[in-house]
Symmetry: C2
Subunit: 311 residues, 2 copies
Amino acid sequence: MKVDRLVALAGGVGGAKLVDGLNRVLPPEALTVIVNTGDDFTHLGLYICPDLDTVCYTLAGIANPATGWGRAEESWHALETVVSLGGPGWFRLGDRDLGLHLERTRRLATGERLSQVTQSFCRALGIQACVLPMSDEAIPTQVDTDEGLLPFQEYFVLRQCQPRVKGFVFENHACARPAPGVLTALEAAHVVVICPSNPWVSIDPILAVPGVRAGLAGKPVVAVSPIIAGQAVKGPAAKMFAELGVQPSALAVAQHYQPWLRGFVLDRQDKAQTAEIRRLGLEVLVTDTLMTSLADRERLAREILDFVTTW
Amino acid sequence: MKVDRLVALAGGVGGAKLVDGLNRVLPPEALTVIVNTGDDFTHLGLYICPDLDTVCYTLAGIANPATGWGRAEESWHALETVVSLGGPGWFRLGDRDLGLHLERTRRLATGERLSQVTQSFCRALGIQACVLPMSDEAIPTQVDTDEGLLPFQEYFVLRQCQPRVKGFVFENHACARPAPGVLTALEAAHVVVICPSNPWVSIDPILAVPGVRAGLAGKPVVAVSPIIAGQAVKGPAAKMFAELGVQPSALAVAQHYQPWLRGFVLDRQDKAQTAEIRRLGLEVLVTDTLMTSLADRERLAREILDFVTTW
Protein backbone atom coordinates (compact mmCIF):
# COMPACT_ATOMS: atom_id res chain seq x y z
CA MET A 1 0.00 0.00 0.00
CA LYS A 2 1.25 3.42 -1.01
CA VAL A 3 1.18 5.98 1.84
CA ASP A 4 1.37 9.54 0.64
CA ARG A 5 -1.80 10.75 2.27
CA LEU A 6 -1.88 10.09 5.97
CA VAL A 7 -4.19 11.35 8.69
CA ALA A 8 -3.07 11.31 12.31
CA LEU A 9 -5.46 11.71 15.23
CA ALA A 10 -3.64 13.32 18.11
CA GLY A 11 -3.94 14.81 21.57
CA GLY A 12 -1.08 16.48 23.41
CA VAL A 13 2.49 15.52 24.20
CA GLY A 14 2.81 11.85 23.05
CA GLY A 15 0.63 12.44 20.03
CA ALA A 16 2.59 15.55 19.07
CA LYS A 17 5.88 13.63 19.16
CA LEU A 18 4.67 10.95 16.76
CA VAL A 19 3.07 13.59 14.54
CA ASP A 20 6.46 15.32 14.40
CA GLY A 21 8.13 12.04 13.45
CA LEU A 22 5.55 11.39 10.71
CA ASN A 23 5.99 14.93 9.42
CA ARG A 24 9.74 14.41 9.21
CA VAL A 25 9.57 11.17 7.21
CA LEU A 26 6.53 11.76 4.98
CA PRO A 27 6.64 13.78 1.74
CA PRO A 28 5.62 17.44 2.09
CA GLU A 29 1.84 17.92 2.28
CA ALA A 30 1.22 14.22 2.90
CA LEU A 31 0.25 14.72 6.54
CA THR A 32 -3.01 15.97 7.99
CA VAL A 33 -3.33 16.05 11.77
CA ILE A 34 -6.77 16.12 13.38
CA VAL A 35 -6.31 17.39 16.89
CA ASN A 36 -8.45 17.04 20.00
CA THR A 37 -10.01 20.32 21.08
CA GLY A 38 -12.10 18.83 23.89
CA ASP A 39 -9.74 20.28 26.48
CA ASP A 40 -9.93 23.79 25.04
CA PHE A 41 -11.12 26.31 27.58
CA THR A 42 -11.36 29.98 28.37
CA HIS A 43 -9.04 31.19 31.10
CA LEU A 44 -8.17 34.78 32.00
CA GLY A 45 -10.40 35.72 29.08
CA LEU A 46 -8.18 33.82 26.66
CA TYR A 47 -9.27 30.98 24.41
CA ILE A 48 -6.69 28.27 25.05
CA CYS A 49 -6.27 25.09 22.96
CA PRO A 50 -3.67 23.02 24.82
CA ASP A 51 -3.45 20.06 22.42
CA LEU A 52 -3.57 22.14 19.27
CA ASP A 53 -0.78 24.33 20.61
CA THR A 54 1.36 21.39 21.75
CA VAL A 55 1.07 19.86 18.27
CA CYS A 56 1.91 23.18 16.56
CA TYR A 57 4.78 24.07 18.89
CA THR A 58 6.21 20.57 18.44
CA LEU A 59 5.92 20.68 14.65
CA ALA A 60 7.50 24.15 14.63
CA GLY A 61 10.39 22.91 16.78
CA ILE A 62 9.67 25.47 19.51
CA ALA A 63 8.05 23.21 22.12
CA ASN A 64 9.52 23.07 25.59
CA PRO A 65 11.40 19.76 25.65
CA ALA A 66 11.36 19.62 29.46
CA THR A 67 7.60 19.96 29.99
CA GLY A 68 6.22 18.67 26.69
CA TRP A 69 3.77 21.61 26.70
CA GLY A 70 4.35 25.32 26.24
CA ARG A 71 7.28 26.91 24.50
CA ALA A 72 11.02 26.59 24.85
CA GLU A 73 12.97 29.61 26.12
CA GLU A 74 9.87 30.95 27.81
CA SER A 75 9.49 33.73 30.38
CA TRP A 76 6.72 33.97 32.97
CA HIS A 77 6.41 37.68 33.77
CA ALA A 78 2.73 38.14 32.91
CA LEU A 79 1.56 35.18 35.00
CA GLU A 80 3.82 36.20 37.89
CA THR A 81 2.10 39.59 37.79
CA VAL A 82 -1.37 38.02 37.69
CA VAL A 83 -0.50 35.95 40.77
CA SER A 84 1.08 38.92 42.59
CA LEU A 85 -2.24 40.76 42.12
CA GLY A 86 -4.21 37.88 43.59
CA GLY A 87 -5.22 36.20 40.33
CA PRO A 88 -5.16 32.51 39.42
CA GLY A 89 -1.80 30.88 38.73
CA TRP A 90 -2.84 27.23 38.51
CA PHE A 91 -2.78 27.15 34.72
CA ARG A 92 0.79 27.89 33.67
CA LEU A 93 0.97 30.39 30.82
CA GLY A 94 4.32 31.64 29.60
CA ASP A 95 4.67 35.08 28.01
CA ARG A 96 5.23 33.84 24.43
CA ASP A 97 2.47 31.26 24.78
CA LEU A 98 0.19 34.03 26.07
CA GLY A 99 0.92 36.09 22.96
CA LEU A 100 -0.48 33.28 20.82
CA HIS A 101 -3.60 32.98 23.00
CA LEU A 102 -4.13 36.75 22.86
CA GLU A 103 -3.94 36.81 19.07
CA ARG A 104 -6.14 33.71 18.70
CA THR A 105 -8.74 35.16 21.07
CA ARG A 106 -8.67 38.47 19.19
CA ARG A 107 -9.22 36.76 15.84
CA LEU A 108 -11.99 34.48 17.11
CA ALA A 109 -13.72 37.59 18.46
CA THR A 110 -13.65 39.08 14.95
CA GLY A 111 -15.48 36.00 13.66
CA GLU A 112 -12.60 33.95 12.27
CA ARG A 113 -12.99 30.22 12.79
CA LEU A 114 -10.56 28.19 14.90
CA SER A 115 -9.50 26.20 11.82
CA GLN A 116 -8.71 29.42 9.91
CA VAL A 117 -6.75 30.87 12.82
CA THR A 118 -4.84 27.59 13.19
CA GLN A 119 -3.98 27.51 9.49
CA SER A 120 -2.73 31.09 9.66
CA PHE A 121 -0.64 30.37 12.77
CA CYS A 122 0.84 27.26 11.11
CA ARG A 123 1.91 29.38 8.16
CA ALA A 124 3.49 31.96 10.48
CA LEU A 125 5.25 29.18 12.40
CA GLY A 126 6.57 27.56 9.21
CA ILE A 127 4.56 24.33 9.64
CA GLN A 128 4.00 22.39 6.39
CA ALA A 129 1.63 19.72 7.72
CA CYS A 130 -2.07 20.51 7.68
CA VAL A 131 -3.18 20.85 11.31
CA LEU A 132 -6.94 20.79 11.87
CA PRO A 133 -8.91 21.21 15.07
CA MET A 134 -11.43 18.37 15.25
CA SER A 135 -14.19 21.00 15.16
CA ASP A 136 -14.61 24.76 14.97
CA GLU A 137 -17.30 24.43 17.61
CA ALA A 138 -16.61 23.94 21.31
CA ILE A 139 -17.03 20.33 22.47
CA PRO A 140 -15.81 20.66 26.05
CA THR A 141 -14.82 17.44 27.78
CA GLN A 142 -16.32 17.04 31.23
CA VAL A 143 -14.83 14.39 33.48
CA ASP A 144 -17.48 12.57 35.47
CA THR A 145 -15.93 11.90 38.87
CA ASP A 146 -16.90 10.83 42.38
CA GLU A 147 -17.12 14.60 43.04
CA GLY A 148 -19.42 15.20 40.08
CA LEU A 149 -18.72 16.59 36.61
CA LEU A 150 -15.50 18.60 36.34
CA PRO A 151 -14.42 20.64 33.31
CA PHE A 152 -11.37 18.89 31.89
CA GLN A 153 -8.68 21.44 32.79
CA GLU A 154 -10.06 21.69 36.30
CA TYR A 155 -9.76 17.92 36.69
CA PHE A 156 -6.43 17.72 34.89
CA VAL A 157 -4.44 20.75 36.05
CA LEU A 158 -6.16 22.25 39.08
CA ARG A 159 -7.10 18.91 40.71
CA GLN A 160 -4.11 17.04 39.21
CA CYS A 161 -6.32 14.09 38.16
CA GLN A 162 -7.02 13.19 41.78
CA PRO A 163 -10.83 12.72 41.68
CA ARG A 164 -11.86 9.17 40.78
CA VAL A 165 -13.15 8.90 37.22
CA LYS A 166 -16.56 7.38 36.42
CA GLY A 167 -16.88 8.45 32.80
CA PHE A 168 -16.66 11.32 30.32
CA VAL A 169 -19.09 13.72 28.70
CA PHE A 170 -18.21 15.38 25.40
CA GLU A 171 -20.62 18.26 25.73
CA ASN A 172 -22.36 19.43 22.61
CA HIS A 173 -20.70 16.74 20.47
CA ALA A 174 -23.92 15.46 18.93
CA CYS A 175 -24.76 18.84 17.42
CA ALA A 176 -21.20 19.81 16.46
CA ARG A 177 -19.72 19.54 13.00
CA PRO A 178 -16.17 18.50 12.15
CA ALA A 179 -13.93 21.41 11.11
CA PRO A 180 -13.73 22.03 7.37
CA GLY A 181 -11.19 19.61 5.92
CA VAL A 182 -11.60 16.87 8.52
CA LEU A 183 -13.91 14.59 6.56
CA THR A 184 -12.26 15.21 3.20
CA ALA A 185 -8.85 14.44 4.73
CA LEU A 186 -10.20 11.18 6.16
CA GLU A 187 -11.75 10.30 2.83
CA ALA A 188 -8.52 10.93 0.95
CA ALA A 189 -6.29 9.22 3.53
CA HIS A 190 -4.43 6.04 2.58
CA VAL A 191 -3.98 5.29 6.25
CA VAL A 192 -5.07 6.74 9.58
CA VAL A 193 -2.75 6.68 12.59
CA ILE A 194 -4.20 6.97 16.08
CA CYS A 195 -1.29 8.50 17.96
CA PRO A 196 -0.17 7.40 21.46
CA SER A 197 -2.50 9.86 23.16
CA ASN A 198 -4.98 9.29 25.98
CA PRO A 199 -7.79 7.15 24.52
CA TRP A 200 -10.41 8.53 26.90
CA VAL A 201 -9.82 12.27 26.75
CA SER A 202 -7.68 12.87 23.65
CA ILE A 203 -8.84 10.39 20.99
CA ASP A 204 -12.42 9.55 22.03
CA PRO A 205 -13.44 13.25 21.77
CA ILE A 206 -12.23 13.24 18.13
CA LEU A 207 -14.12 9.97 17.47
CA ALA A 208 -17.22 11.57 19.02
CA VAL A 209 -17.39 14.30 16.36
CA PRO A 210 -20.23 13.37 13.98
CA GLY A 211 -18.86 11.87 10.77
CA VAL A 212 -15.43 10.89 12.07
CA ARG A 213 -16.26 7.26 12.94
CA ALA A 214 -18.00 6.84 9.60
CA GLY A 215 -14.92 8.35 7.96
CA LEU A 216 -12.74 5.68 9.55
CA ALA A 217 -14.93 2.80 8.38
CA GLY A 218 -13.08 0.68 5.84
CA LYS A 219 -9.84 2.69 6.21
CA PRO A 220 -6.61 1.04 7.27
CA VAL A 221 -6.37 2.41 10.81
CA VAL A 222 -3.39 1.75 13.04
CA ALA A 223 -3.16 2.77 16.71
CA VAL A 224 -0.05 3.18 18.82
CA SER A 225 -0.40 2.21 22.47
CA PRO A 226 0.11 5.08 24.94
CA ILE A 227 0.37 2.44 27.68
CA ILE A 228 3.76 0.78 28.19
CA ALA A 229 4.18 -1.88 30.87
CA GLY A 230 0.84 -0.93 32.41
CA GLN A 231 1.80 2.74 32.75
CA ALA A 232 0.98 5.82 30.72
CA VAL A 233 4.16 7.53 29.49
CA LYS A 234 2.56 10.81 30.60
CA GLY A 235 -0.84 11.77 31.99
CA PRO A 236 -3.72 9.90 33.59
CA ALA A 237 -4.57 7.26 30.92
CA ALA A 238 -3.57 4.27 33.10
CA LYS A 239 -5.33 5.71 36.16
CA MET A 240 -8.47 6.23 34.07
CA PHE A 241 -8.45 2.64 32.76
CA ALA A 242 -8.06 1.33 36.30
CA GLU A 243 -10.81 3.53 37.75
CA LEU A 244 -13.13 2.42 34.95
CA GLY A 245 -12.49 -1.20 35.94
CA VAL A 246 -10.05 -2.13 33.17
CA GLN A 247 -6.51 -3.32 33.85
CA PRO A 248 -4.38 -0.74 31.99
CA SER A 249 -2.36 -2.44 29.26
CA ALA A 250 -1.58 -2.27 25.56
CA LEU A 251 -4.21 -4.99 25.13
CA ALA A 252 -6.81 -2.80 26.86
CA VAL A 253 -6.00 0.02 24.44
CA ALA A 254 -6.29 -2.35 21.47
CA GLN A 255 -9.67 -3.53 22.76
CA HIS A 256 -10.78 0.06 23.31
CA TYR A 257 -10.17 0.97 19.65
CA GLN A 258 -10.83 -2.49 18.22
CA PRO A 259 -13.93 -1.69 16.08
CA TRP A 260 -11.92 0.80 13.98
CA LEU A 261 -8.50 -0.87 13.87
CA ARG A 262 -6.62 -2.91 11.35
CA GLY A 263 -3.23 -2.71 13.03
CA PHE A 264 -1.77 -2.05 16.46
CA VAL A 265 1.67 -0.94 17.60
CA LEU A 266 2.90 -1.84 21.08
CA ASP A 267 6.11 -1.62 23.00
CA ARG A 268 8.64 -4.44 23.25
CA GLN A 269 8.01 -4.50 26.99
CA ASP A 270 4.44 -5.66 26.27
CA LYS A 271 5.46 -8.28 23.70
CA ALA A 272 3.70 -10.97 25.73
CA GLN A 273 0.35 -9.41 24.81
CA THR A 274 0.95 -9.86 21.06
CA ALA A 275 -0.93 -13.13 20.69
CA GLU A 276 -4.00 -11.84 22.47
CA ILE A 277 -4.05 -8.66 20.37
CA ARG A 278 -3.70 -10.77 17.19
CA ARG A 279 -6.70 -12.74 18.41
CA LEU A 280 -8.71 -9.49 18.15
CA GLY A 281 -8.06 -9.74 14.40
CA LEU A 282 -5.34 -7.07 14.34
CA GLU A 283 -1.97 -6.96 12.64
CA VAL A 284 0.68 -6.21 15.25
CA LEU A 285 3.95 -4.32 15.26
CA VAL A 286 6.19 -4.71 18.31
CA THR A 287 8.89 -2.08 18.65
CA ASP A 288 10.32 0.59 20.94
CA THR A 289 7.50 3.11 21.27
CA LEU A 290 9.00 5.45 23.85
CA MET A 291 10.11 8.63 22.08
CA THR A 292 12.81 10.42 24.04
CA SER A 293 14.79 11.87 21.13
CA LEU A 294 14.00 13.34 17.72
CA ALA A 295 15.61 10.22 16.24
CA ASP A 296 13.10 8.06 18.19
CA ARG A 297 10.20 9.99 16.68
CA GLU A 298 11.49 9.49 13.15
CA ARG A 299 12.35 5.83 13.68
CA LEU A 300 8.93 5.00 15.13
CA ALA A 301 7.21 6.93 12.31
CA ARG A 302 9.25 5.03 9.69
CA GLU A 303 8.50 1.68 11.29
CA ILE A 304 4.78 2.45 11.33
CA LEU A 305 4.88 3.45 7.66
CA ASP A 306 6.81 0.27 6.78
CA PHE A 307 4.30 -1.72 8.82
CA VAL A 308 1.24 -0.37 7.01
CA THR A 309 2.94 -0.45 3.57
CA THR A 310 2.95 -4.26 3.77
CA TRP A 311 -0.88 -4.33 4.05
CA MET B 1 -5.06 76.60 55.88
CA LYS B 2 -4.36 73.11 57.13
CA VAL B 3 -3.82 70.55 54.35
CA ASP B 4 -4.21 67.00 55.48
CA ARG B 5 -6.90 66.01 53.02
CA LEU B 6 -5.91 66.67 49.47
CA VAL B 7 -7.48 65.55 46.21
CA ALA B 8 -5.41 65.51 43.04
CA LEU B 9 -6.93 65.27 39.57
CA ALA B 10 -4.50 63.53 37.25
CA GLY B 11 -3.94 62.03 33.82
CA GLY B 12 -0.82 60.16 32.81
CA VAL B 13 2.89 60.87 33.04
CA GLY B 14 3.14 64.49 34.29
CA GLY B 15 0.18 64.09 36.60
CA ALA B 16 1.57 60.84 37.98
CA LYS B 17 4.88 62.52 38.84
CA LEU B 18 3.26 65.29 40.85
CA VAL B 19 0.94 62.77 42.51
CA ASP B 20 4.03 60.82 43.54
CA GLY B 21 5.59 63.98 44.98
CA LEU B 22 2.41 64.81 46.91
CA ASN B 23 2.23 61.26 48.22
CA ARG B 24 5.81 61.51 49.46
CA VAL B 25 5.32 64.75 51.38
CA LEU B 26 1.76 64.38 52.68
CA PRO B 27 0.86 62.38 55.80
CA PRO B 28 -0.28 58.81 55.13
CA GLU B 29 -3.89 58.60 53.91
CA ALA B 30 -4.05 62.33 53.21
CA LEU B 31 -4.04 61.90 49.44
CA THR B 32 -6.85 60.86 47.13
CA VAL B 33 -6.14 60.81 43.41
CA ILE B 34 -8.99 60.97 40.91
CA VAL B 35 -7.67 59.65 37.63
CA ASN B 36 -8.86 60.14 34.07
CA THR B 37 -10.28 56.97 32.55
CA GLY B 38 -11.41 58.60 29.30
CA ASP B 39 -8.55 56.97 27.42
CA ASP B 40 -9.36 53.48 28.70
CA PHE B 41 -9.99 51.04 25.89
CA THR B 42 -10.26 47.39 25.01
CA HIS B 43 -7.39 45.98 23.00
CA LEU B 44 -6.56 42.34 22.35
CA GLY B 45 -9.57 41.60 24.52
CA LEU B 46 -7.95 43.35 27.50
CA TYR B 47 -9.42 46.28 29.39
CA ILE B 48 -6.57 48.79 29.50
CA CYS B 49 -6.51 51.95 31.67
CA PRO B 50 -3.36 53.81 30.63
CA ASP B 51 -3.61 56.77 33.03
CA LEU B 52 -4.73 54.71 36.01
CA ASP B 53 -1.83 52.33 35.45
CA THR B 54 0.73 55.09 34.99
CA VAL B 55 -0.40 56.65 38.28
CA CYS B 56 -0.28 53.31 40.10
CA TYR B 57 3.05 52.19 38.63
CA THR B 58 4.54 55.59 39.49
CA LEU B 59 3.22 55.52 43.06
CA ALA B 60 4.49 51.95 43.46
CA GLY B 61 7.93 52.97 42.18
CA ILE B 62 7.82 50.46 39.33
CA ALA B 63 7.13 52.82 36.41
CA ASN B 64 9.50 52.85 33.48
CA PRO B 65 11.56 56.02 33.97
CA ALA B 66 12.57 56.13 30.29
CA THR B 67 9.07 56.05 28.75
CA GLY B 68 6.93 57.43 31.57
CA TRP B 69 4.38 54.67 30.84
CA GLY B 70 4.55 50.94 31.39
CA ARG B 71 6.78 49.17 33.85
CA ALA B 72 10.48 49.22 34.52
CA GLU B 73 12.47 46.06 33.81
CA GLU B 74 9.88 44.93 31.33
CA SER B 75 10.02 42.17 28.71
CA TRP B 76 8.04 42.08 25.45
CA HIS B 77 7.72 38.41 24.57
CA ALA B 78 3.93 38.22 24.41
CA LEU B 79 3.57 41.22 22.09
CA GLU B 80 6.46 40.01 19.92
CA THR B 81 4.54 36.75 19.51
CA VAL B 82 1.30 38.57 18.68
CA VAL B 83 3.10 40.53 15.97
CA SER B 84 4.92 37.45 14.63
CA LEU B 85 1.48 35.83 14.16
CA GLY B 86 0.19 38.83 12.22
CA GLY B 87 -1.55 40.62 15.11
CA PRO B 88 -1.47 44.31 16.03
CA GLY B 89 1.68 45.70 17.65
CA TRP B 90 0.87 49.43 17.60
CA PHE B 91 -0.10 49.55 21.27
CA ARG B 92 2.99 48.57 23.24
CA LEU B 93 2.21 46.09 26.00
CA GLY B 94 4.99 44.62 28.10
CA ASP B 95 4.65 41.18 29.67
CA ARG B 96 4.31 42.41 33.27
CA ASP B 97 1.93 45.17 32.22
CA LEU B 98 -0.08 42.55 30.32
CA GLY B 99 -0.39 40.49 33.49
CA LEU B 100 -2.13 43.39 35.21
CA HIS B 101 -4.50 43.90 32.26
CA LEU B 102 -5.30 40.18 32.20
CA GLU B 103 -6.16 40.13 35.90
CA ARG B 104 -8.17 43.37 35.70
CA THR B 105 -10.12 42.09 32.68
CA ARG B 106 -10.78 38.81 34.48
CA ARG B 107 -12.12 40.58 37.56
CA LEU B 108 -14.26 43.04 35.62
CA ALA B 109 -15.78 40.04 33.81
CA THR B 110 -16.75 38.55 37.18
CA GLY B 111 -18.66 41.78 37.96
CA GLU B 112 -16.12 43.63 40.11
CA ARG B 113 -16.12 47.37 39.55
CA LEU B 114 -13.05 49.20 38.23
CA SER B 115 -12.73 51.12 41.49
CA GLN B 116 -12.72 47.88 43.50
CA VAL B 117 -10.15 46.28 41.22
CA THR B 118 -7.99 49.41 41.43
CA GLN B 119 -8.17 49.44 45.22
CA SER B 120 -7.16 45.79 45.36
CA PHE B 121 -4.26 46.34 42.94
CA CYS B 122 -3.08 49.34 44.98
CA ARG B 123 -3.01 47.17 48.09
CA ALA B 124 -1.03 44.48 46.23
CA LEU B 125 1.39 47.12 44.92
CA GLY B 126 1.88 48.66 48.36
CA ILE B 127 0.30 52.00 47.47
CA GLN B 128 -1.00 54.00 50.45
CA ALA B 129 -2.73 56.80 48.59
CA CYS B 130 -6.35 56.29 47.62
CA VAL B 131 -6.44 56.01 43.81
CA LEU B 132 -9.88 56.33 42.25
CA PRO B 133 -10.93 56.04 38.62
CA MET B 134 -13.12 59.05 37.81
CA SER B 135 -15.97 56.62 37.09
CA ASP B 136 -16.67 52.90 37.10
CA GLU B 137 -18.51 53.41 33.84
CA ALA B 138 -16.82 53.84 30.48
CA ILE B 139 -16.65 57.46 29.29
CA PRO B 140 -14.54 57.01 26.17
CA THR B 141 -12.88 60.14 24.83
CA GLN B 142 -13.34 60.63 21.10
CA VAL B 143 -11.11 63.15 19.38
CA ASP B 144 -12.99 65.15 16.76
CA THR B 145 -10.52 65.69 13.93
CA ASP B 146 -10.43 66.80 10.31
CA GLU B 147 -10.71 63.06 9.56
CA GLY B 148 -13.77 62.63 11.76
CA LEU B 149 -14.16 61.22 15.27
CA LEU B 150 -11.28 58.99 16.38
CA PRO B 151 -11.20 56.88 19.56
CA PHE B 152 -8.55 58.43 21.77
CA GLN B 153 -5.89 55.71 21.58
CA GLU B 154 -6.26 55.51 17.85
CA TYR B 155 -5.62 59.27 17.61
CA PHE B 156 -2.90 59.24 20.27
CA VAL B 157 -0.88 56.08 19.63
CA LEU B 158 -1.81 54.68 16.22
CA ARG B 159 -2.02 58.07 14.46
CA GLN B 160 0.57 59.72 16.74
CA CYS B 161 -1.64 62.83 17.20
CA GLN B 162 -1.25 63.77 13.52
CA PRO B 163 -4.90 64.51 12.61
CA ARG B 164 -5.90 68.12 13.26
CA VAL B 165 -8.09 68.50 16.33
CA LYS B 166 -11.47 70.25 16.19
CA GLY B 167 -12.85 69.21 19.58
CA PHE B 168 -13.51 66.37 21.98
CA VAL B 169 -16.46 64.16 22.83
CA PHE B 170 -16.65 62.47 26.22
CA GLU B 171 -19.06 59.74 25.21
CA ASN B 172 -21.67 58.72 27.73
CA HIS B 173 -20.46 61.32 30.27
CA ALA B 174 -23.89 62.83 30.88
CA CYS B 175 -25.33 59.50 32.06
CA ALA B 176 -22.26 58.30 33.95
CA ARG B 177 -21.75 58.48 37.68
CA PRO B 178 -18.51 59.27 39.48
CA ALA B 179 -16.85 56.23 41.05
CA PRO B 180 -17.71 55.58 44.70
CA GLY B 181 -15.51 57.83 46.82
CA VAL B 182 -15.00 60.58 44.25
CA LEU B 183 -17.62 63.03 45.53
CA THR B 184 -16.97 62.31 49.22
CA ALA B 185 -13.23 62.83 48.69
CA LEU B 186 -13.91 66.17 47.00
CA GLU B 187 -16.27 67.15 49.79
CA ALA B 188 -13.71 66.31 52.47
CA ALA B 189 -10.77 67.87 50.64
CA HIS B 190 -9.01 70.89 52.10
CA VAL B 191 -7.51 71.60 48.72
CA VAL B 192 -7.75 70.22 45.18
CA VAL B 193 -4.70 70.10 42.92
CA ILE B 194 -5.15 69.89 39.17
CA CYS B 195 -1.95 68.17 38.12
CA PRO B 196 0.15 69.18 35.08
CA SER B 197 -1.79 66.86 32.77
CA ASN B 198 -3.35 67.57 29.38
CA PRO B 199 -6.32 69.92 30.05
CA TRP B 200 -8.28 68.72 27.03
CA VAL B 201 -8.01 64.95 27.27
CA SER B 202 -6.83 64.24 30.82
CA ILE B 203 -8.51 66.79 33.11
CA ASP B 204 -11.61 67.87 31.14
CA PRO B 205 -12.90 64.26 31.07
CA ILE B 206 -12.75 64.21 34.88
CA LEU B 207 -14.51 67.59 35.06
CA ALA B 208 -17.17 66.21 32.71
CA VAL B 209 -18.25 63.51 35.17
CA PRO B 210 -21.55 64.66 36.70
CA GLY B 211 -21.02 66.07 40.19
CA VAL B 212 -17.29 66.79 39.88
CA ARG B 213 -17.62 70.46 38.87
CA ALA B 214 -20.18 71.02 41.61
CA GLY B 215 -17.75 69.29 44.00
CA LEU B 216 -15.04 71.82 43.12
CA ALA B 217 -17.27 74.84 43.72
CA GLY B 218 -16.06 76.83 46.70
CA LYS B 219 -12.99 74.61 47.20
CA PRO B 220 -9.48 76.01 47.06
CA VAL B 221 -8.36 74.62 43.72
CA VAL B 222 -4.85 75.05 42.38
CA ALA B 223 -3.71 74.01 38.91
CA VAL B 224 -0.17 73.37 37.74
CA SER B 225 0.55 74.34 34.14
CA PRO B 226 1.52 71.45 31.85
CA ILE B 227 2.69 74.04 29.32
CA ILE B 228 6.20 75.44 29.79
CA ALA B 229 7.51 78.07 27.37
CA GLY B 230 4.67 77.35 24.94
CA GLN B 231 5.43 73.62 24.82
CA ALA B 232 3.89 70.61 26.50
CA VAL B 233 6.48 68.70 28.53
CA LYS B 234 5.04 65.53 26.96
CA GLY B 235 2.10 64.80 24.68
CA PRO B 236 -0.12 66.85 22.38
CA ALA B 237 -1.47 69.55 24.77
CA ALA B 238 0.29 72.45 23.01
CA LYS B 239 -0.66 71.14 19.55
CA MET B 240 -4.29 70.87 20.70
CA PHE B 241 -4.38 74.44 22.02
CA ALA B 242 -2.94 75.70 18.74
CA GLU B 243 -5.33 73.68 16.56
CA LEU B 244 -8.25 74.96 18.63
CA GLY B 245 -7.11 78.52 17.91
CA VAL B 246 -5.50 79.30 21.27
CA GLN B 247 -1.84 80.25 21.60
CA PRO B 248 -0.46 77.54 23.93
CA SER B 249 0.84 79.09 27.13
CA ALA B 250 0.56 78.88 30.91
CA LEU B 251 -1.90 81.77 30.65
CA ALA B 252 -4.06 79.78 28.24
CA VAL B 253 -4.14 76.92 30.75
CA ALA B 254 -5.08 79.31 33.55
CA GLN B 255 -7.89 80.72 31.42
CA HIS B 256 -9.05 77.21 30.53
CA TYR B 257 -9.50 76.27 34.20
CA GLN B 258 -10.29 79.79 35.46
CA PRO B 259 -13.91 79.22 36.63
CA TRP B 260 -12.73 76.60 39.16
CA LEU B 261 -9.37 78.02 40.23
CA ARG B 262 -8.12 79.94 43.23
CA GLY B 263 -4.42 79.47 42.50
CA PHE B 264 -2.11 78.71 39.61
CA VAL B 265 1.43 77.36 39.44
CA LEU B 266 3.60 78.16 36.45
CA ASP B 267 7.19 77.70 35.47
CA ARG B 268 9.88 80.33 35.96
CA GLN B 269 10.31 80.42 32.18
CA ASP B 270 6.77 81.84 31.94
CA LYS B 271 7.23 84.38 34.73
CA ALA B 272 6.28 87.19 32.35
CA GLN B 273 2.69 85.86 32.29
CA THR B 274 2.29 86.28 36.06
CA ALA B 275 0.59 89.68 35.95
CA GLU B 276 -1.96 88.60 33.39
CA ILE B 277 -2.78 85.44 35.35
CA ARG B 278 -3.16 87.53 38.53
CA ARG B 279 -5.59 89.69 36.57
CA LEU B 280 -7.81 86.58 36.21
CA GLY B 281 -8.17 86.82 40.00
CA LEU B 282 -5.78 83.97 40.76
CA GLU B 283 -3.02 83.63 43.30
CA VAL B 284 0.18 82.70 41.50
CA LEU B 285 3.21 80.58 42.36
CA VAL B 286 6.18 80.81 40.05
CA THR B 287 8.71 78.00 40.42
CA ASP B 288 10.52 75.20 38.55
CA THR B 289 7.72 72.89 37.42
CA LEU B 290 9.72 70.45 35.30
CA MET B 291 10.09 67.20 37.26
CA THR B 292 13.08 65.21 36.08
CA SER B 293 14.08 63.65 39.40
CA LEU B 294 12.30 62.25 42.44
CA ALA B 295 13.65 65.25 44.35
CA ASP B 296 11.93 67.57 41.84
CA ARG B 297 8.60 65.86 42.46
CA GLU B 298 8.91 66.28 46.22
CA ARG B 299 10.11 69.85 46.01
CA LEU B 300 7.30 70.92 43.69
CA ALA B 301 4.74 69.14 45.90
CA ARG B 302 6.11 70.90 49.00
CA GLU B 303 6.06 74.28 47.31
CA ILE B 304 2.45 73.78 46.26
CA LEU B 305 1.48 72.78 49.81
CA ASP B 306 3.33 75.82 51.23
CA PHE B 307 1.60 77.98 48.62
CA VAL B 308 -1.93 76.84 49.50
CA THR B 309 -1.23 76.81 53.26
CA THR B 310 -0.92 80.60 53.15
CA TRP B 311 -4.50 80.95 51.84
